[in-house]
Symmetry: C2
Subunit: 254 residues, 2 copies
DNA sequence: CGAGTTATATCTGTATACACATACAGGCGT
DNA sequence: ACGCCTGTATGTGTATACAGATATAACTCG
């Protein structure tokens, strides 16, 4: 049951446990509705309970697990409405970042980097040969854009809170890329997102705080729409990492 | 909701450690700028490193401590600007709650409770005999109002995130009560806050999402103003719990 | 006298041991 | 037959032991 540990070497057991368990949960390799004890998981990952315990605490914090009162943990299934809220939360936080940057002024160097990333994304999408094969590149650039936007605030608080929010399943901007049914739909969607990137830079530069905030919120809602569409179509759902964590509202649960 | 030492008995060592350390840090019984090791703190609290370790992890999460790369923890001093951001974050999150309640509709029972709490606060402030002696009562009612507003969303995510945000020093609505220089100033301030309570209920009831959100944000900024005034007056600062955690911007730190 | 090196004292990360709480099952009494 | 009680097994919370890493300080050599 040892997974691709390649990216996990050199880290502490605790970090490795958290990463491995998170992946196992999101990939559906651990069953929802089932109760897992520290002891079980320690044996499963071949390490002692100490790092497992720390990892479980962390994953509970991230909302992936629920601690049972009698002991043990259960994988938390999310209603589509809960996922919406998660993405809404990210939008609100990124909106706060954008507004603060506009109101306080954004350091020139950071703004330049945002412009550069935006230009790279634009170039990628402008290419007529754009296809789903380019999605990983897009995902990387998009992720860096979002990260840079937050980092530009130079606020430890916001950087920390957004990192936490992004760890939640389906929250991060990158987690929803890759589930487009065809190249044209993908490009069309991403072009709209890129317009948000361009306009939020413009808003920040012009000190339009409310506008910058509104744009980042709407940007998150683009992800939201995208995801909700996927939830309703089992075909797209198969492409979505973490789909096993979604609980359909009508599903009866004990 | 017992917040005295009495709440500390019967709990696990881990919880006790977290509570005790948090209090010691906020009350200035542990020196900022000084490096504390797990071992030291374990001996200080007469328990083993295991629960201390978990507590330190938690307090680091709350932004009270910084983990040193070489090991050990240092109490994090906050610039006034960082405290502002903390309160702004709370305002943004509570604003999100209020907006969602307005947009989705707020359960009638919850709305009734908010109205009841608001009325109680109103009655307290309307009394001509109002004085600083009534502040603890106000603090209790105010805290319950805010908590109820969040709980009314029935969103695990928002409840969890706001609980975390409120744990940060100076963030919670209650942490800033009690530092008024005289009865009249206190009452005047609290009356404005109470107007926010009244109007946000009105906005939620009328499904005015943007208004509800704006009111809660402005409500948080009332705390912000209050705090900033205190930071500039050493007299009020003495009344502020956690004042030792504030770092003056001009202060040189080695 | 200064810089590099080594020895030492800590400290963290992890494993393990143990006690107490809790759930479950089987037996006993009614 | 059903319900209660008790014994057992399992799990968590905590303490402790231990190994590897790291800073510090002293010492040696140039």
């Amino acid at each position: 049951m040892v997974s691709e540990d390649s990216a996990r070497i050199g880290q502490s057991q605790t970090v490795r446990a958290a990463m491995t368990l998170r992946d196992m949960i999101i990939d559906g390799r651990l069953e929802p509705e089932m109760r897992y004890t520290e002891t079980q998981l320690a044996e499963l990952l071949s390490m002692s309970r100490t790092p497992i315990r720390a990892a479980l605490q962390r994953l509970t914090d991230e909302g992936l697990l629920t601690a049972m009162p009698a002991g043990g943990y259960v994988i938390r299934l999310l209603l589509p409405s809960e996922i919406s809220e998660t993405i809404e939360l990210r939008g609100v936080l990124e909106g706060l970042c954008a507004r603060l940057l506009a109101e306080r002024g954004c350091p020139g160097a950071a703004l330049d980097e945002l412009v550069a990333l935006s230009a790279q994304i634009e170039a990628l999408l402008a290419d007529d040969g754009f296809s789903r094969a380019d999605l990983p590149t897009y995902e990387r650039l998009n992720g860096r854009f979002h990260q840079k936007l937050v980092a530009a605030t130079e606020s430890t608080l916001l950087i920390q809170e957004l990192a936490r929010a992004n760890n939640r399943p389906f929250a991060s901007a990158s987690s929803l890329v890759g589930m487009y049914e065809n190249d044209r739909a993908a490009r069309q969607h991403l072009l709209i997102g890129q317009d948000h990137h361009r306009t939020v830079i413009e808003a920040i530069r012009s000190r339009q705080g409310a506008r910058a905030e509104a744009i980042m919120r709407e940007h998150a809602r683009l992800s939201q729409r995208n995801l909700m569409r996927a939830v309703e179509s089992s075909r797209s759902l198969e492409l979505l990492r973490g789909a096993s964590l979604i609980r359909q509202p009508d599903e009866e649960t004990g």
